[in-house]
Each structure stands twice: as C-alpha cells, then as structure tokens.
C-alpha cells in the first residue's frame, strides 16, 4: 500500500513542495506588509549555498539551517533598505537581488581550491520517526514519514497563519500592507514593520533554499533550486496571501513536479516542459480572473503592495 504509485507521488510531492512552502509563506509575510520582493530566487539560492557550506564545514545540519536563515535575511536587508528607506523601485531592487544572489551563490560554490561544486552534503535531513510508525498504511508515511524541516514548515505555516489573523501585531502587518497612512495615524511605525517582514521573508526563503541542498538534492550544483523562487512568487497569488493555502498549493505543485515521473511509471506521455508551465499558467489565470479591479479585495492582495510610502509631514 505504502509503495503504491499514488503514495510515492504524494510523498515526493510533499518533499518537492516543502521549499516552496518556506518561500511562499515568507513572501506572504513580506507582501502582507506591502513590500513586493522579486528577489526570492536570489535569496533562496543564497540560502541554499550558505546552508550547504555551513553543514559542509561543521557537519551540523542545524547550523546549516541557521546559516541559510541568516543568509536569506541578510540578502533581504538590501531590499528592505532600498524599498523602505530609500523608497526606490521595489521591482528593480528585487530583480537586482535575484541577479546578485544567484551570482554570489554560484560563485561561492565554485570558489577556492577545493570548491563545493559536485560535493555531496556532509549530512542530510532524513525522516525522524522510527520505521515502525511509518509502516502504518497511508497515514504512517503521510504523518510520520518526514524529516524535521517538513515538520518545521508545518509549524511555520500554523504560526504564520495564527500570527497574521489572530494577533494584534499580525493585524498591524495587514494594516500596514493595506493602508500605511491610516496605520501610521493609528500610531504604528510603518518602516519598522516593513523591515521586519521583509527580513522574515528572506529568512524563510533562505531555509527553503537549504531544503534543496540539505534534503532534496544533498550535493552542490550550480543551481539546485531550479525556478523555485519564481514559483513561490506565483504561489503567493494562488494562495491568495494566506499561509494555509500556501501549504496546499505548494504541495499541489510539488506533486505536479513529480507527475512527470509518475506518468512515466504509468506509461502516460505528457511532456515535462508543458507540466513545468503549469504553476505559471495557473498564476496568470488566477491573476486575471481574481485580482482585476474590485475583485482584488476579496482575494486578499494587499492594497499598498509595491507602492513606496511617504509619510505626510508638515
């Protein structure tokens, strides 16, 4: 039962979806505060290399995760400074971050006399529960068959959702993303809120990147993350800026990413390149159908997303 094509597809989908969960939830937190960060790809890739490097040097997986978290947050600080303090174009700044982060990650992977590239990871995230539990049909692997980062991602989704919708600071974030002027009038420090959430987004993107290099493909390659950062940006829309939905859509696309292999097993011939198109195509359709004009309000797109905020001063 647990070896069926369906189960294997689901399990692989959860694995492939996990970095997307981190990246998407992170970008949701950032965008909810009104800042668009198109640098997710760069931050993820930088997190991937930092995580791999720290684990490679120390042998500790959790030091790797910490390094990835700090790396992603550090990268995002550049964007926070550009978009919150300097208020220059968030779009150009985000793209710059992606280009820069990609360059730095690839460079670090190849630099030095004994480069990281091609090396296997010194440690790999593996399922944490004893095999006896995972032998239970269906629920065994689905609930007990995962590594620690997957459980961490669930905790982060739950925490982010609770934070945004059931706490006062979360309300503050949403208000800042919707209407910074009104938030400021209510005594909220808009810049501080935005800095914090851009960096939270960066930290989560960094962990998402490390999931590739420490769990999914535990060796260093030039780009172990594919287009995951860009997919995460698309998933934010499909998740309509809500963490729990991010979990489901990320798994959906994890499964879609795995379908290619599954279809081969089942001898169904669908070109991989067309399947790869799917997240982007669905995001555009969602964008056009759901966010045009007044409908955007139902969806949850933060009204002030991407718009620099100038305080009224007299």
């Amino acid at each position: 039962m647990n070896e069926s094509v369906l189960m294997l597809t689901l399990m692989a989908g959860i694995g492939l979806g996990t970095p997307l969960v981190f990246g998407t939830v992170g970008e949701i937190l950032t965008e909810r505060s009104g800042i668009l960060n198109l640098g997710v790809q760069g931050m993820m890739l930088f997190g991937a290399v930092m995580g791999f490097w720290a684990t490679f040097v120390s042998g500790s997986l959790w030091l790797g995760v910490l390094a990835a978290l700090l790396g992603g947050a550090g990268m995002s600080l550049i964007h926070a400074f550009n978009s919150v303090t300097l208020r220059v174009s968030q779009i150009v700044s985000g793209l710059a971050l992606t280009i820069f982060g990609t360059g730095v990650a690839v460079y670090i992977g190849k630099a030095g006399s004994d480069p990281l590239i091609g090396q296997p990871s010194k440690a790999v995230f593996e399922p944490i529960f004893p095999e006896a539990l995972t032998d239970v049909p269906i629920v065994g692997p689905l609930i007990f068959g995962h590594d620690a980062l997957i459980y961490l991602s669930w905790a982060i989704v739950a925490a982010a959702s609770y934070y945004l919708f059931h706490t006062r600071p979360g309300l503050t974030v949403r208000a800042v993303g919707e209407d910074p002027a009104s938030a400021e009038a209510a005594g909220i420090n808009v810049s501080k809120v935005r800095y914090i959430h851009v960096m939270l987004g960066g930290a989560l993107a960094g962990i998402g990147g490390a999931y590739f290099s420490l769990a999914l493909v535990p060796s260093w390659q030039d780009n172990p993350i594919g287009q995951a950062g860009w997919i995460a940006i698309a998933l934010v829309i499909l998740a309509s800026w809500r963490p729990w939905r991010a979990l489901w859509v990320a798994y959906l696309f994890g499964i879609a990413g795995r379908l290619n292999f599954t279809f081969q097993t089942l001898e169904i011939n669908v070109p991989a390149t067309l399947l790869d198109m799917l997240p982007f195509l669905l995001a555009i359709i969602a964008m056009i159908v759901l966010t045009s004009g007044k409908r955007a309000k139902f969806l949850g797109a933060p009204a002030a997303l991407g718009i620099p905020y100038y305080r009224e001063e007299r």
């Binding site: 550049i78 779009i91 820069f100």
Partner: protein
C-alpha cells in the same frame, strides 16, 4: 525634532550627478566584487585585467562584446520605454523568447528561394510581432481589466521558456531539427534569412538594435506622439485633461516594448544562432536589459554604451574560467551594479543636507521660489 540630516526632493539634478551615479555604481560594484575575489583568494587585479582583455583586448574579443551587447540594447530599450510610463514590463525575457519562436517559425517556413532582403525583413519583423503579441497577453488585461502587469509579465517569461523548450526538447514540432539525432536541437532557418556578418561573428543586427534605440529617442523627444507619451508618463490626470486617450497610449507603449524585446529574439535567430536554440536563448537577456535600462536611467541613447558595458561583462565571463575564477563573478558584478544604481536613484531625486542652523527646518520651499 532635531534631525541630523534633512532629505528633500530635488528639482533639477545636475548633469554631472546623473553621469556620476552610473559610473559610481560600476566602480562600487567592482570594489565589492574585488572584496569577494580577495576573500576567496584571487588576485583581483589579474581578474579585472583578464576581463578587460577578453572584452576589449582584441578585434575578435571586441566583436564578441558587441555580439553580446546587441540583444541587450533591444531588451534595454524595451524595459526603458515601458518603465518610463510606469508600465512594469518585466517580461522582456518571455517576449524575446516568443519573438524568437515566431521568427524561427517564419524562417523555417520560408522557401530557400526567397530573396535575401525579403527573407531577412520577414524573419526580423516576425520577431517583433511575436514579442508584441506576447506582451499583449499582459497588456490587454492590464488596460482593460486593471490586472497588475508585474506578475503577469513575470509568469509569461516562464511560460514562453517552457513552451520554447517543449517545441525543441519535448516534441517533434517543426522547430526541432529532424537531423539532430544525438541531442535535440532547433531546426536551422533558411540560409537567405540569415543576417550577414561583417566583423568576426558580428552581424548587421547591431545596427538594427542601435537604430531602434535612436528611433525610440527620436520618437519620444521629437514627435507629437512622443510628447503625448511624455505627458502620460508624467501624470495620467494631466494627460486626460489635455485630451490624450491614456489607456490607448499605455497599450501602445506596452506593445512597442514587447516588439523591441521580440526583435532581440529575431535578431539572435537570424543572426548568430541561425536557429531557435533553447539554451542560447535562456541567458537572462531580458532581465539584463532591465539592468541596462536602469543604469542608463531609461534614456534610449545612453542604453547603447551601457549595453556594450554589460555585453563586455557577459563576454568576459567564460574567459575567467581559464584562470580558475568562476564566471559567476560577472553576475555578482551585474547584480551589484544594479543595486548601487537603484540606490543611487535616491541621490538623484533627493537632496540630503544638514539642517540650516539658523532657519531650522522651516525652509522647505523649492529652490526656484522666485515670485
């Protein structure tokens, strides 16, 4: 309310500042890159010398630099004309690719006997149309439904990329070369559709690109339609008041932007590639065009030298590997240049000074308060 610095919007930035910011950004990026190089145990002087040598040190090297610059001029113009009107077309990548798909389609379909001039024009124009069509997929929803174009153009990049890969790698479409048995490749276009080379691998496509940049500058600054464009780019409300049909203008600009990016695709297909080669068209030329546009401060003429600089960097990358330095150095430099340039925009549009000790903060009037 004592503050150490006062930041206020600037009226007319001095010309030297507008020149200094891009140059300063390049220098700052090189210093940052130098730090990276030194930390990782490289001789930064040697690296920069090697890069300069590869890009400008020989006729062949310079020709390659210009080959790399050609599509960047076009994607730079594409980004600049859109951004100037606050149309955030970041889909240059996808428009380039779809332009290449259409151009290659026409180039494959044309008969061998087609006269050269007609064939080249047909292939090149097809790319522009393809790019404009791909842009319209985001432009039409934006203008008529209010759909945010940032995300749609971004997503369309990946759809175009996957579609192109499908045509060659995932199917036996007419774009795939039936004779390539080892590894799937694009089918070559008709020989008469190829743009001739004139200096090493450099072809006349460079002049098409420069021509487009000059035309963009000319239209914007010298024509009636360009004046309308400048008004719309400055203020939608003033434009409406002045009797300009704003949605039509935005749509037109968006499509023109797509056409410019599409041209970059067709010039690659008709020029150095000769076919639709998925690997050679997936180099981030659209995104690099955004760096070019930002560094050129959206000025179409300034795009030409900036694109040559970026082309030089792209061209120098592979040469670095021969001295054991990762070619990703180039990406670091490009990313850093863009980060510094975008931060520098702040200095161009704002003035920072210490508070006037006597007048305090009250002096906030603009500088040209004459009457």
């Amino acid at each position: 309310m004592s503050r150490r610095f006062i930041v206020e919007p600037r009226g007319l930035a001095p010309w030297w500042l507008k020149l200094l910011i891009p140059i300063g950004s390049v220098i700052a990026a090189m210093i940052l890159g130098g730090v990276f190089l030194v930390i990782t145990g490289n001789d930064w002087i040697e690296v920069y010398q090697k890069m300069a040598d590869a890009a400008f040190g020989s006729g062949r090297g310079f020709a390659e630099t210009l080959v790399s610059a050609t599509p960047l001029i076009l994607t730079g113009v594409a980004a600049a004309i859109a951004f100037k009107m606050l149309v955030w077309n970041i889909g240059g990548e996808g428009q380039l690719i779809f332009g290449a798909v259409v151009a290659a389609g026409v180039g494959i379909w044309l008969a061998d006997s087609t006269p050269q001039v007609i064939a080249i024009v047909a292939v090149v124009i097809a790319g522009a149309i393809g790019g404009a069509f791909w842009a319209s997929l985001a432009a039409v929803p934006k203008v008529y439904l209010g759909t945010n174009e940032i995300i749609t153009t971004l997503m369309l990049n990946f759809i175009a990329l996957n579609f192109m890969q499908y045509l060659v790698l995932g199917s036996s479409s007419p774009w795939r070369d039936p004779e390539a048995t080892q590894f799937p490749q694009g089918r070559p276009i008709v020989e008469s559709g190829r743009i001739p080379e004139f200096f090493h691998r450099l072809d006349w496509g460079l002049f098409i690109a420069i021509g487009v940049a000059v035309i963009a500058w000319f239209v914007i600054s010298k024509t009636r339609s360009g004046f309308e464009y400048r008004i719309v780019g400055d203020s939608f409300d003033a434009a409406r008041y002045a009797g300009i049909k704003v949605p039509k203008k935005v749509l037109g600009t968006f499509l023109a932007s797509g056409a410019a990016a599409g041209l970059a695709g067709s010039i690659l297909v008709a020029g150095i590639l000769g076919k639709m080669d998925p690997r050679s068209l997936d180099l981030g030329l659209g995104f690099t065009g955004i760096i070019v546009a930002a560094l050129a401060r959206l000025n179409p003429i300034a795009i030409i030298p900036v694109a040559i600089l970026m082309g030089a960097l792209n061209n120098a990358g592979p040469a670095l590997q021969s001295i054991g330095v990762p070619s990703a150095t180039v990406k670091i430099l490009q990313g850093a240049i863009l980060i510094f340039a975008v931060a520098g925009e702040f200095l161009i549009s704002n003035r920072i000074h210490r508070p006037d000790p006597i007048a305090g903060e009250a002096k906030a009037e603009p500088e040209a308060q004459a009457a």
